[in-house]
Amino acid sequence: MAEIIKLSVFRFDPEKDDKPFMQTYEVPLLKSGMKLLDALNYIKWEIDGTLTYRRSCGEGVCGSDGLNINGVNGLACITPIEGLKQPIHVRPLPSMHVIRDLVVDMDHFFDQYRQIKPWLQSESPMPEHERLQSPEDRERLDGSYECILCGCCTTSCPSWWWNGDRFLGPAALLQANRWIVDSRDEATGERLDQLEDAFRLYRCHQIMNCMEACPKELNPTAAIGHIRRKLLSRKS
């Protein structure tokens, strides 16, 4: 008989339930190296079809299944069941408005991403072919471009819980820095202007939950530090 995995999953259907509750499920260990998403899929397909969650690629590239797993944010598809304390508590990303079960409203998160203008801004004439970049300049984007915008970092940040309406949060600021360090982007000044704010940028208190939570092992705290040094060197 297969080994049994115990899960305790957050359930909430605003059309039916007065308040959220935790529901217990038991899932057989299907294979070695089984991931948490496999267990959720088993529940959805074999036990309880009403369980709702987001998923797409299933291999840590799309960033759809950011969840709070045993109190720590991460992607269900790349979190191995092995090593998780049971019952595994699966909750939606913290501080987010729950649409249903594990699905949260990401609108504000993506609005904040849009606010940092995450596209190349350049005034020099369009070259005939692509805009070239030296291997060294390209290397400076390592540690930023890998971000998949899953929201694990931003929703783990206490400062964003308290002031998320104004503080842009680690994910958006990591991307803000990505365009500041890009050798092809010519809007560094305007980008810094748009970040120089006691709330938008400086609400980061270096709690570093973002770094702990990132499933891609990126470091938004370091990126925020880099933006601060840029602002400081501009004024001194």
């Binding site: 609108d107 609005d111 606010q115 400062s159 308290w162 002031n163 202007d193 748009q194 970040l195 120089e196 704010d197 006691a198 709330f199 938008r200 940028l201 400086y202 609400r203 208190h205 601060r228 602002l231 400081l232 004024k235």
Partner: protein, 119 residues
């Protein structure tokens, strides 16, 4: 596409952050000095007249002034950040920060008056 009403950046915040760090460095350098003095007094190395001579010296007065200014700036910036974190109603936040500023300035002026024996 959802359009957000976004007030944009206030173009300030760097100076708060800068002064908080600068004052932290000054405090790290100067704050141990009064404790050394205390240890010297309790250890018997300095008597009361010696203590008064040290405190009266113009260099100690200057260092003391810099220390108290750094302390007030650092405490004000830190408490302001805490109030901004937790007090979300502007009608409360601004009066609280203002009241704190007045209280700290009063305390600082009183302390400076003692250092320089104005009264």
């Amino acid at each position: 596409m959802r359009v957000v009403k976004e007030p944009g950046a206030a173009h300030s915040g760097l100076s708060d952050w800068y002064w908080q760090r600068l004052s932290a460095v000054v405090l790290a350098l100067l704050l141990p000095l009064p404790f050394f003095l205390l240890v010297a007094v309790y250890g018997g190395a300095v008597d009361q007249q010696g203590l008064l001579d040290i405190l009266d010296h113009v260099v100690s007065r200057l260092l003391h002034t810099i220390l108290i200014l750094a302390l007030i700036i650092h405490a004000y910036m830190g408490l302001k950040v805490i109030l901004e974190d937790y007090v979300h109603t502007i009608a409360w936040r601004i009066p609280l920060i203002g009241a704190m500023l007045v209280m700290m300035a009063t305390f600082g002026i009183w302390w400076l008056a003692m250092i320089w024996a104005w009264i």
